[in-house]
């Protein structure tokens, strides 16, 4: 054993840490909620899981290493695990119900627009549940989590080009099933 002389440093979570976490929260809370909302049926569950994700991120914040991954990638990994744990707990994937979609429509939207959006969102989420788990995951990470193809590839162990191809094919598949004429 050697006894060295090192400044003890602070045990305190400094104000700068709180500010940093608050900034990262603001930048990422929407992405996390959107990612989760592509994977679960109702808003309450999505919000609960979003809370769980940020609480876990807070408890592990001291161990976050910026050199290994961006905060977005890191927190979306936590979100992935939270969704997996949720489905493990509930025992099965939930089917989308019409009523649960209503909660995703902003209150500020006009009733007519709201109805249209509600209908379209219902159709979209129902179609997404029909995708393979890999396609669901990639669509949720791309359009929900707004990760780059490279970040998605690294998370899922795929190549960048593979992710790009899957996104293109899946969007066209969804488009065809959605029945959009453009």
């Amino acid at each position: 054993m050697l006894f060295g002389f090192i400044n003890r440093g602070t045990n305190k979570i400094t104000q700068s840490t709180a500010d940093t976490f608050a900034d990262l929260y603001e930048q990422n809370v929407s992405k996390v909620l959107r990612y989760i909302s592509y994977r679960v049926s109702d808003l309450d569950t999505a919000e609960d899981l979003t809370s769980v994700v940020f609480e876990k991120a807070l408890s592990k914040f001291g161990n976050f290493n910026r050199e290994r991954a961006s905060f977005s990638t890191w927190i979306l990994s936590i979100a992935r695990n939270a969704v997996t744990d949720h489905y493990r707990a509930v025992g099965k994937e939930q089917n989308f119900q019409q009523d649960s979609i209503k909660n995703f429509i902003p209150e500020s939207m006009s009733p007519d627009d709201g109805i249209v959006k509600e209908e379209e969102l219902h159709r979209l989420k129902a179609l997404i549940t029909g995708l393979s788990s890999q396609e669901q995951e990639i669509i949720a990470m791309k359009f929900g989590g707004e990760l780059t193809n490279r970040e998605i590839a690294k998370t899922l162990g795929l190549s960048d080009s593979n992710v790009g191809i899957i996104i293109y094919r899946t969007v066209r598949k969804l488009r065809d099933s959605f029945g959009v004429t453009l």
Partner: protein
């Protein structure tokens, strides 16, 4: 590149721009690609957002948790802070000196009772032919408080690993030393100065080389590791400016203390190397 590859590459570039909120104008004559891009826009438009109240409430709760964690750390650290304070160290050292002085004085018999409370009185006469041993002073067990004991006990806080680029060297060959420090505590540690001083000693404990201390201060988060390198150029013994003699040499890591106490380091045992004849 195949047509589909080109299309998906273009599609993905446009999707990134859509997600970034940039305006996108589609010029392609490829209706399939165009409709895919339009649908990607629709997916983005349909994506839900958290309500303002949810965002605000969750943020408030998280920051409150952070504050509570801070307050808890503050409370549990009062003991350490009290004893890392300079005045506490001075008082402790003074008490230790007093205890040592008392112990030495007691051992010298200054406080032994002498019958009539007269320190100069002669010992009682003993009947001739009988001798009794004169009672000596009672040896009092003394304890000293070593000023160097860390109040953190035996827990390793900083793990130090040293390694040379080779296990043995020919005479005059530069020895490259790699030092890594890992914070094994649950607190952020500041290390000053950084890089730490590296000392090379021979088998007799004589210092043959000391690296220059750095002028930086670094913070190590719990679990974080940092490393630095030092080179002992041409094995020059800084005492006599000559090449170090063949033999076994040892690495020691230390740094200059700050005002706020000392932290226990544990250095790996394999911190020696050989200079060959």
């Amino acid at each position: 590149m195949s047509r589909e590859n080109k299309e998906d590459k273009l599609f993905n570039e446009i999707v990134d721009r859509i997600l970034a909120g940039e305006p996108v104008k589609i010029d392609s004559s490829n209706t399939d690609l165009n409709s895919a891009i339009e649908f990607a826009k629709k997916i983005k438009d349909l994506s839900p957002s958290p309500s303002l109240s949810f965002k605000a409430n969750l943020k408030t709760r998280l920051l409150q948790e952070l504050h509570n964690k801070d307050a808890k750390a503050e409370q549990s650290g009062w003991f350490q802070r009290a004893f890392s304070h300079r005045l506490a160290w001075q008082l402790g050292t003074t008490m230790a000196i007093i205890l040592v002085a008392l112990g030495v004085t007691w051992r010298a018999g200054v406080f032994q009772p002498t019958g009539k409370n007269d320190l100069t009185s002669a010992p009682p006469k003993i009947a001739s032919g009988v001798t009794e041993p004169v009672p000596g002073p009672t040896i009092m067990a003394t304890t000293t408080t070593a000023g160097l004991t860390s109040f953190s006990g035996s827990q390793t806080i900083i793990q130090v690993n040293t390694a040379t680029d080779k296990p043995d060297y020919i005479s005059g060959e530069t020895v490259n030393i790699d030092v890594s420090l890992t914070n094994e505590s649950s607190s952020t540690m500041e290390i000053q100065p950084y890089p730490l001083v590296v000392t090379v000693t021979d088998a007799n404990g004589q210092i043959v080389y000391t690296s220059d201390p750095g002028s930086n201060i670094i913070s190590l988060l719990p679990g974080q590791t940092t490393d630095f390198k030092v080179s002992w150029e041409k094995q020059i013994n800084t005492n006599n400016n000559k090449k170090a003699a063949p033999g076994t040499y040892y690495l020691t890591i230390g740094s200059i203390t700050g005002d706020s106490g000392r932290t226990q380091m544990n250095q790996n045992s394999t911190s020696s190397f050989e200079i060959l004849p």
